[in-house]
């Protein structure tokens, strides 16, 4: 497989540094997964808690390679007419009308029913042809000229039936349309496929078997600090270390939803807006709703706020 900017996928270190240039800080596992996905021509199934940058990884890869990112958001009830292709019914109806009107011209000179039918067949069957086909994301990705990044987001939200639909696409990079035949991807321009899942249900083994599996956990303090630095460079170092260690401690607490990286970044932005130089209990209390999304979590943390803040301050 060769796509443009292939050199950016030369080895794991190159990928890491390229990601970093795009403000996506990753660990070696992530870079390895992208590296293997490209060289083995296999889709990656990314799992992990919400907000650790699963979708972002696909987008960043597309940006890095200068390819288009085609996104398919999954939801319950998603079916082939929204994911693969749809016929343009209006046009098809119009076509039948036109055909009806010109029928006499076509059949001109035909003798008997058999001949008429033969003549009709000669006329060609364009009713189900590509002209009347409306490609949806999966088909679009397959037919893309220069290759692309296909992001199938939150695949766990879709139905089991849809998962089975994906199998053909994921293992052979081809799709079958009954009326037309099989559409194959250009063997040198296969799309780079990312699937993300939030683990709301188990993905079927058949799908898992066809994918590389990458699990992105919450980052450790070091990595998270780097990420905040890359994303919100204006945060002073002292504050950055404080807020990262605060968040890290929150993740160990028993919360309904622990803050993810995206929340850390939002919080850093908030603190910048408030012109704060350092954390203190009051400031944290006022901005707690940025990182915690449930009232009971907020109440739970508030009771221990002073202690956690002090420990975070001590860290630096």
């Amino acid at each position: 497989m060769s796509i443009k900017n292939e050199s950016k996928l030369a080895n794991v270190e190159v990928i890491e540094s390229n990601f970093e240039a795009l403000n996506y800080i990753c660990n070696p596992q992530i870079a390895t997964a992208v590296f293997l996905a490209y060289h083995l021509e296999k889709p990656i199934l990314i799992e992990g808690p919400p907000g650790v940058g699963k979708t972002e990884l696909a987008k960043t890869t597309a940006e890095m390679l200068g390819l288009e990112c085609i996104r398919l958001q999954c939801y319950e009830g998603l079916d082939e007419s929204k994911a693969i292709y749809e016929w343009k019914y209006g046009k098809q109806l119009l076509y039948t009308q036109v055909l009806k009107e010109t029928l006499s011209e076509i059949l001109d000179g035909a003798q008997g029913l058999t001949q008429s039918v033969d003549k009709l067949h000669e006329f060609g069957d364009i009713f189900f042809s590509e002209q009347f086909l409306e490609p949806r994301p999966l088909l679009k990705a397959l037919k893309h000229e220069e290759g692309c990044v296909l992001l199938i987001d939150e695949v766990d939200k879709s139905d089991h039936e849809f998962e089975s639909l994906l199998l053909e696409m994921l293992s052979d990079f081809q799709l079958s349309i009954p009326e037309i035949g099989t559409v194959k991807a250009n063997p040198n321009r296969k799309p780079l496929v990312f699937l993300t899942s939030n683990n709301t249900r188990e993905i079927s083994d058949a799908l898992k078997r066809r994918c590389l599996h990458l699990y992105i956990p919450f980052p450790d303090a070091d990595l998270e600090s780097k990420i905040v630095h890359a994303r919100v460079p204006e945060v002073p170092e002292k504050l950055r270390l404080q807020l990262v260690s605060f968040i890290q401690e929150l993740r160990d607490m028993d919360l309904k939803k622990v803050p993810a990286i995206s929340e850390t970044i939002d919080w850093a932005r908030t603190l910048i807006l408030l012109h704060s130089e350092t954390l203190d209990a009051d400031l944290v209390r006022q901005t707690l709703n940025v990182i915690l999304k449930f009232q009971e979590d907020i109440e739970h943390v508030e009771s221990e706020l002073q202690g956690v803040t002090n420990r975070a301050l001590k860290e630096t």
């Binding site: 794991v12 070696p28 596992q29 390895t32 997964a33 293997l36 060289h39 083995l40 296999k42 990656i44 199934l45 799992e47 007419s81 749809e86 016929w87 019914y89 098809q92 109806l93 039948t96 089991h160 188990e202 079927s204 083994d205 898992k208 078997r209 994918c211 590389l212 599996h213 990458l214 699990y215 956990p217």
Partner: protein
């Protein structure tokens, strides 16, 4: 050779309950070709991405990888220079520290260098002119740790050390590996050297002996490690398979915990299979595509409408369990099954009786199984069984809730102590419910012997089954799920 290693590694992963398919094994090989073997961490990351597909599996993968791809340095040279056997052993233990494996390369060359420097200088004069003639002897004194390691692993492969199942086989496999490496030849040589006499010869014989003992230790450790890699899990599997087939009434209390685990595992499997099948039916959106396609033949006039439909059809299960002494164990596991299946069987109701019928649905939903079972036994157990009374109670209290979607499972031996069987009520259930299934733990031959009334009940059931092991239970529950969707 490397393919063989991958296959062996995959085997190890499988015993650790990672489901690795042949296709994934092939992927792993391709990945290894791309990644190469130089960077251990890189290789580990890559294989982890290809072979393990859940966070749990990743963890298991980690341990497997660490223990599988850690080869101990084997250094007869070191041992060689130490006259004191005792001193050798603590050293030996250090080498097995998994942490030091990472620096295997560095450590090895260092140790080797030391061995050569110290050992050979001291004893060089004695050694002169005398070389061991046997293959193994040469290998041992050549101080090539890698070669010895490779020879050991190859010998291990030859004797299929990965087939080791129980702990007591360790000695056997150790000897087999030693033999495969050429021990008999070495023994002969040591023998002849000793017999021929002479200072240098005795010396060499002694050296070989020590190297041999050291090798034996190593091999034993190697076998032990293989045992933990391969047999620990397969032993467990063996036990589980056995427990699945054993008659539930013969289960001993100490096995309950294992069985519970198995039941949960089986239930999980059933959930995975059947939750996929569950269809939802809802008369909702007009399916334009289908409608158009179907109406094309009518000249585009829409009179045959098609709907995008969803079918919600969850089985309603009523389970009536005999909890008198003889059958209680079966009831216990059936209930365990049903409650582990809450995800696909949300509407299960359960009743217990020995003479009077009582509903225990709540009890089981709220408290854990042990406790619920104990309470059930206390409240309903221990009476003499009276199926007639039970059926009357059912008729009075629950018959109204039975509808065309309900499946009724009755678990019991149908031993009615010669009372009135009331089989008419079972007939009534048969008419009202979707299915009536009677599970009887006794073998079919004794269904009509003595006070058993199976011949009266059986005609009024859709299905009667012998059910006395976990396998049977699983089959019944699986059928139940299948027929209900």
């Amino acid at each position: 050779m490397i393919d063989r290693t991958v296959v062996d590694f995959v085997k190890v992963l499988r015993t650790a309950e990672l489901a690795v398919s042949p296709a994934e094994t092939l992927d792993a090989m391709r990945a290894m070709n791309i990644v190469g073997y130089e960077d251990r961490q890189f290789l580990k990351n890559s294989l982890s991405i290809v072979l393990s597909k859940t966070p749990d599996e990743k963890e298991a993968f980690e341990t497997c990888f660490e223990s599988f791809f850690s080869f101990d340095k084997f250094s007869p040279a070191e041992e060689h220079q130490k006259t004191d056997e005792q001193q050798g052993h603590p050293e030996n233990d250090d080498e097995f520290d998994p942490a030091s494996k990472q620096e295997e390369g560095g450590g090895k060359s260092g140790g080797q260098g030391m061995g050569q420097g110290g050992g050979s200088a001291e004893e060089a004069s004695d050694d002169e002119g005398l070389e061991p003639t046997s293959k193994l002897g040469k290998l041992l004194l050549a101080r090539d740790t890698n070669a010895i390691m490779v020879a050991m692993v190859e010998a291990g492969r030859e004797v299929h050390v990965n087939k080791i199942v129980v702990f007591t086989q360790k000695g056997l496999y150790t000897r087999k590996i030693m033999d495969a490496m050429g021990l008999p030849e070495l023994q002969d040589e040591i023998g002849t050297l000793g017999n021929e006499g002479g200072n240098a010869r005795t010396n060499l014989a002694g050296k070989l002996k020590k190297a041999r003992d050291r090798l034996r230790d190593k091999v034993r450790d190697y076998v032990e490690k293989q045992f933990f890699l391969h047999a620990d899990e397969s032993g467990k599997q063996l036990r589980e398979e056995l427990l699945k087939k054993v008659k539930l009434s013969n289960l001993e209390k100490r096995n309950f915990k294992d069985v519970q685990e198995i039941v949960f595992k089986m239930a999980k499997k059933l959930i995975a299979v059947h939750s996929k099948r569950r269809k939802q039916f809802r008369r909702g959106h007009l399916d334009i595509r289908k409608t158009l396609r179907h109406n094309m033949q009518y000249d585009g006039m829409f009179f045959d409408l098609h709907w995008k439909s969803k079918k919600i059809d969850r089985p309603k299960v009523m389970c009536i369990c005999d909890v008198s002494g003889s059958v209680s164990n079966y009831s216990r596991f059936l209930l365990m099954f049903l409650y582990s299946l809450a995800e696909v069987l949300p509407k299960a109701r359960s009743f217990a009786f020995s003479s009077d019928l009582g509903e225990v649905t709540r009890l089981f939903a709220q408290s854990d199984l042990e406790e619920a079972m104990a309470k059930t036994m206390r409240d309903y157990g221990n009476g003499s069984t009276d199926y007639g009374q039970m059926l009357l109670d059912f008729k009075n209290n629950c018959m109204d809730d039975v509808d065309k979607k309900t499946t009724i499972i009755i678990l019991g031996d149908a031993r009615n102590n010669y009372g009135d069987p009331q089989s008419g009520i079972v007939k009534e259930m048969y008419d009202k419910a979707k299915r009536v299934i009677w599970l009887n733990p006794e073998p079919k031959m004794s269904w009509t012997v003595g006070d058993a009334e199976m011949d009266k009940y059986a005609p009024c059931c859709h299905q009667t089954e012998v059910c006395n092991s976990l396998m049977h239970l699983e089959r019944v529950v699986s059928n139940l799920l299948r027929s209900s969707t």
